[in-house]
Amino acid sequence: MDIAAIDSSATLGRSWLHQATPVAKLWAFTFVLSAVIVSWNVLVLAGIMIALLAVSIAARLRPGLLLPLALYPAVFAAVFAFSAAPDVLTGVTIVLKAVAAALAAIMLVLSTPYPQVFAPLQRLLPVVVGDALLMTYRSLFLLLEKFGNLLTAVRLRSGFTTGQPVRSARAATRALGGVLLYAIDLSQRDHDIMRLRGYEGRLRVTAPPRTRPAVDVALVAGSVLVTATSVGWRIYSVALNPFSWLAPASALVLLLLAFIASRRTTR
């Protein structure tokens, strides 16, 4: 997991999706997630997934970053689908549900700085939980970097040898142990810094200014449309199922338009 690349995409991106307010993006995410939860139609789910890909292209999110993260849960979902689903089509539907929901979540994280994603949650949660949530993400950067450095150091000292798995495992475990000790020291240092800065409980996150209200409205309206489509197909499934192909077909048109628009912008 390249957490630095995720953060750089969220903070340095300048697309219309980055400029939408976090609240609008969280609402849009909630509606898309509801659509994924409600739908059991493999083609409607494929349509949602393609539409999300279209949005990601229009927002110029890096596919090399987005797609591996979105496909990661597919492995676990495939194991579950293989073992629990009654037939292949249901299994495919379960995997599509996982990928579509993951795609929506990752698009949110790739276009919104993490304090802004967690801020609404932090306001609702107890102080210790909300603040620790913010501290965790920050610590994750530091620990991943430290772990990477330790592994490089072990490799340079020939700690990892292909013919000696026990020695390699010992070296890797010591590196993890080293990260753990570093983590404990890091928490003590953070404690000192927070004490110096007069922390009394509740870290404050300032909401960004609303620069493009039209984008917010369009984003939420689009996601409401996706939910309405999904709910409609669920309620009137018997009548609408034969026409399910319309969902991926219209999403494909959207994908094509997004692709053309992104090519024009690049030129």
């Binding site: 379960i94 549900k97 979540a105 620790a132 965790t136 404990i184 609408l240 034969p242």
Partner: protein, 275 residues
């Protein structure tokens, strides 16, 4: 495999919503108990230990669809009060990174919290029996037993959601009657958008057919989980045991009293406190 990698919308509404309510109640109680004078120490400690669990959980062992959790190790360091909070934080961040569903955050929190609490209690009991010299073995045994308990809990949740409950909640499984037709072949309004295009009796007949087909196979799921799981349990136990052994040699206080117990800072280079 100890927490639920089931996508959003597969488990019935009552189950995942119930999971959310119970998990939030558990986290609220834990947060209330954790609140006190040393809250400033607990917040950064929770942050780093949760981050450590995230580092472990983000690396998957592909052939067996398993990832290391380090839950028992985190529980030893954090203690039983902070464990549910760390579980909630880790699961929430993982869900936002697409790893695990948002709707199952509550159930996942409960499974991971149970894993941490059972792991902490077993570690203490086993080390009490074997003595402090066999702390690594204690951690290995505690981890394996804990993972057996949490995996059984996971299968129990799928059993709760996968039988009749899933049948009622998921509605018509559309893949079963998937066809490709032109919506405009008989005119735009003849598709019967408002009446569903079928009489109520026909609809119920189709629903009954779907109900029998859409149930999840809990037996097969349990068989897969209990076949692939042990490989992961052993790996996780060996890694946890090795780290616990290493830490107990370098800084034993952390293992036996937890990370919050000692406010004394170790002198760099003299972590064992011998000089």
């Amino acid at each position: 495999m100890s927490h639920i990698h089931i996508p959003d919308g597969v488990l019935p509404l009552w189950l995942w919503l119930g999971g959310w309510f119970v998990a939030l109640a558990v986290v609220a109680v834990a947060a209330r108990s954790a609140k006190g004078e040393d809250v400033r120490r607990k917040v950064p400690l929770l942050g780093v230990i949760s981050a450590l669990m995230l580092v472990a959980m983000s690396s998957e062992i592909i052939p067996i669809a398993y990832h290391i959790n380090l839950t028992v190790l985190a529980a030893i360091l954090l203690g039983p009060v902070l464990a549910p909070i760390a579980a909630f934080i880790v699961i929430t961040i993982l869900a936002l990174l697409g790893h695990g569903g948002v709707t199952v955050i509550g159930l996942n929190t409960l499974v991971i919290s149970a894993e941490m609490l059972v792991g902490w209690a077993l570690f203490r009991a086993i080390v009490g029996l074997l003595g402090r010299n066999r702390v690594a073995l204690g951690a290995v045994l505690a981890t394996v037993l804990t993972l057996i308990v949490s995996t059984t809990l996971l299968v129990g949740i799928v059993w709760l959601g996968g039988s009749d409950a899933a049948g009622r909640e998921t509605g018509a499984l559309d893949p079963a009657d998937l066809r490709f037709e032109n919506p405009f072949a008989e005119g735009v309004f003849s598709v019967g958008l408002l009446d569903g295009g079928h009489g109520p009796e026909d609809e119920h007949a189709e629903d009954d057919d779907h109900d029998s087909a859409r149930s999840l196979s809990v037996g097969r799921f349990a068989a897969v989980v209990f076949t692939l799981g042990p490989i992961g349990w052993i790996l996780e136990a060996l890694i946890t045991g090795a780290i616990v052994g290493f830490i107990s040699r370098v800084r034993p206080g952390l293992m036996f009293t937890g990370a919050l117990a000692d406010e004394r800072r170790p002198i760099p280079g003299d972590e064992t406190g011998t000089s």
